[in-house]
């Protein structure tokens, strides 16, 4: 035990004096959490606060255009004054002002009373769209237009059959009372960007223990201290254990500090506050499993890399690729189906599943079991590979 204590003390002292290593472990993920939480805060809000301007240009006059615009506006879409003509509308959209213009053909209202017919020019609406507009927003507006037209058609049919006498009787917005309840989320409404980003960038930071672990290991090999320790009959397994515990504590410290950053720093800078999970024990279990996998990865890179450059390329670039693939940099739900099939190959995705189960979904033991087991199995494989690689090197 005293030998192990000496190892731990050495590791702490070396890490405490490695300014770059500390920056990678603590400053980098905290910076990512703050920047990404603030940058993506609107993307995770139901009411983003961001308004997309649109206009309606109706061939039958401004009265119809105004009526249609009133039906379309709301939920992030703001009605702008109608352009003078189609040429002005196209010129405006080209500059993004407004981002959308709906061109309504002549005799549009009369066409609503007739059955849908693709060849009928009075039923042919055109939506001019700014190419810089996010495709998802364009799709939302497209469905808003179709919903509005459906409402108008139903209203027209109801009036003909005497069911209703108002042309606006059937409005999609008033079709039903629909409220959204996000299941398991500790706060009302949808999860905020800080809740999405804290676990993601925390995992990214935890896996970066590969850098300080490998840099110290390479110094030990280069300076001959590893050989000296071998001559002093210090078992390699003891040496590994001497590294696992300090970096495990570092990873847990990272978790605590990143949660604190989400709780205090992000709201202080204008973002939303992180809602804390109900089950801290489950959070600790996910963090511990992630940490062991990250440390195992760090040790394997340390043993296999001969130079700092190799460690940086294998460890650093490997982490970035795993983060890109594992839904850390780009959320999984944004990816196409073919790409989503690859996400589960990244251990960072397993860790993210575990953290989301605790932080977003308020899940129980069964919800974190699969990700934790996968991470622990990976850690065991990586530790075994480290011992094997070291044995091969030592002859």
């Amino acid at each position: 035990m005293h030998r192990l204590l000496a190892m731990w003390k050495k590791e702490w002292l070396a890490l405490a004096r490695d300014v770059h290593g500390l920056a990678v472990l603590f400053v980098m993920p905290a910076a990512f959490i703050v920047i990404m939480s603030l940058a993506l805060s609107d993307a995770f809000k139901a009411d983003t606060g961001h308004q997309t301007d649109f206009a309606v240009l109706a061939a039958d006059g401004s009265n119809l255009a105004e009526r249609l615009a009133r039906r379309l506006e709301g939920d992030g879409f703001r009605a702008a004054p109608a352009p003078d003509d189609e040429a002005a509308a196209r010129a405006g959209v080209r500059q993004g002002k407004p981002g959308l213009v709906l061109l309504v053909p002549r005799a549009f209202e009369r066409g609503l009373r007739e059955p849908p017919d693709r060849t009928n020019p009075s039923q042919a609406l055109t939506l001019l769209a700014d190419p810089a507009l996010p495709p998802a927003q364009l799709a939302v507006f497209q469905h808003r237009v179709l919903g509005m037209v459906l409402g108008l058609r139903v209203s027209a049919a109801a009036r003909i059959s005497g069911i209703a006498d108002d042309t606006g009787a059937f409005d999609l917005k008033r079709a039903a009372t629909l409220s959204i309840e996000v299941v398991g989320n500790p706060r009302a409404g949808r999860p905020s960007s800080v809740q999405q980003n804290v676990p993601a960038w925390l995992i990214f930071g935890m896996f970066f223990v590969v850098m300080p672990i490998s840099s110290l290991f390479i110094v030990e090999r280069r300076e001959g201290t590893l050989a000296r320790l071998a001559s002093q009959q210090v078992p390699f397994s003891l040496l590994l254990l001497g590294k696992v515990v300090p970096f495990f504590v570092v990873n847990l410290g990272q978790a605590a500090l990143m949660l604190l950053a989400g709780r205090t720093l992000v709201p202080w800078l204008g973002g939303e506050q992180l809602a804390l999970p109900a089950r801290w024990d489950l959070l600790a279990a996910v963090a511990a499993s992630t940490s062991l996998a990250a440390i195992g990865w760090g040790l394997l890179v340390a043993v296999c890399a001969r130079t700092m450059e190799q460690a940086t390329v294998i460890g650093g670039v490997g982490n970035i690729l795993a983060a890109a693939m594992g839904g850390i940099m780009v959320p999984r739900f944004v990816m196409p189906d073919t790409m989503q099939a690859w996400v589960d190959l990244s251990p960072m995705a397993w860790a993210l599943d575990g953290f989301h189960a605790v932080i977003l979904r308020q899940g129980g033991v069964l919800d974190i079991l699969a990700p934790c087991l996968k991470l622990l199995l990976l850690a065991a494989v990586l530790f075994a590979a480290t011992l094997w690689a070291h044995h091969r090197r030592r002859i």
């Binding site: 000496a6 300076e223 001959g224 201290t225 050989a227």
Partner: protein, 309 residues
């Protein structure tokens, strides 16, 4: 501790056909310092690494007083101290932190650890730099810390792999005196160096190895004994041409530098005659060597003077 016997030790790195050690047999006594000389790539560091347990896969036998070294080390895990060629410590830690760490991982603790640290600090005279980071020390101080770490457990077998490389003359003299003072008391000390004068100055026995083979081994006085009748003279002035021509014919005279000559004579009496003749020719000898070679001569002779990487 008893003598260290190395018998028929052979080694090659995996995947390589080149034999690094080829049947090395050495007897290293425990009553002095044993010098191991050899050009670069001769196998000195490999031999030290095998003895220290850093390299595995060697064939042959290594024993201390008849007991296999591995068994001795199992019984006494810290009986061997290595002072490697590299300054093998943590540059980001202070000298004291390094000493405490290396002492701690070798099982020293509490009062015993403090005593040993104090002892090696005093022995290597690094008291003034204990709080300085090891990476910031001068070359000489780094070597002294390297030695201090190797002595922490008072090892009965000390392996010193070129411990004075890259230090100034004062530090080298200090290190050599310190190492010399470690000899005796039943301690095996194996010392490798490139510097012939170091080995000649502090070693009692020596071996020269080249290409993994032992070329010569034994007590230094015996190894350097020269029965070939070689006489080396350094004179105050150059020999007159006539005398030089005469000696060239009679004693196979060879000039080696200014007023430095090698001759081959048949006996000590003939050597005395040559010296007298030189004096008579107003070429007073300032240095005479007969019946004994210096280590450098022997080394160059045995390794065929070839320059190696």
């Amino acid at each position: 501790m008893g003598m260290l016997n190395i018998e028929g030790l052979s080694f090659h790195y995996p995947g390589s056909t080149e034999t690094v050690l080829d049947g090395v047999t050495l007897v290293i006594p425990d009553d002095g310092i044993f010098g191991l000389l050899g050009p670069n790539g001769a196998g000195k560091t490999t031999l030290i690494s095998i003895l220290a347990g850093q390299l595995r896969g060697a064939t042959g036998r290594i024993a201390v007083s008849g007991e296999p070294l591995e068994s001795v080390r199992r019984r006494q895990p810290h009986c061997l101290g290595l002072v490697p060629q590299e300054c093998a410590f943590y540059p980001m830690l202070t000298c004291l932190e390094n000493l405490h760490f290396f002492g701690g991982v070798q099982g020293l603790r509490g009062v015993r650890l403090r005593q040993r640290v104090e002892s090696v600090v005093g022995f290597t005279r690094i008291e003034g730099v204990l709080k300085r980071r090891a990476g910031q020390l001068s070359g000489g101080l780094k070597r002294r810390l390297n030695l201090a770490i190797g002595l922490l457990t008072e090892p009965e077998m000390l392996l010193l792999d070129e411990p004075t490389v890259g230090v100034d003359p004062q530090s080298r003299a200090f290190l050599l005196d310190s190492i010399r003072s470690l000899a005796g008391k039943g301690r095996i000390i194996l010392y490798t160096s490139h510097y012939m004068e170091e080995v000649q100055a502090i070693c009692d026995s020596a071996a020269i190895i080249d290409r993994g083979r032992v070329l010569v081994s034994g007590r230094l006085a015996e190894v350097l004994l020269d029965g070939s009748g070689s006489l080396t003279l350094r004179l105050r002035a150059q020999l007159p041409d006539a005398l030089a021509a005469d000696w060239r014919a009679r004693y196979a005279l060879r000039e080696d530098g200014v007023a430095r000559y090698h001759l081959r004579v048949s006996s000590a009496a003939a050597a005395a005659q040559v010296i007298e003749a030189a004096r008579a020719a107003d070429c007073e000898p300032v240095a005479i060597s007969y019946g004994q070679r210096d280590l450098e001569q022997l080394f160059m002779q045995l390794t065929n003077r070839s320059l190696r990487d």
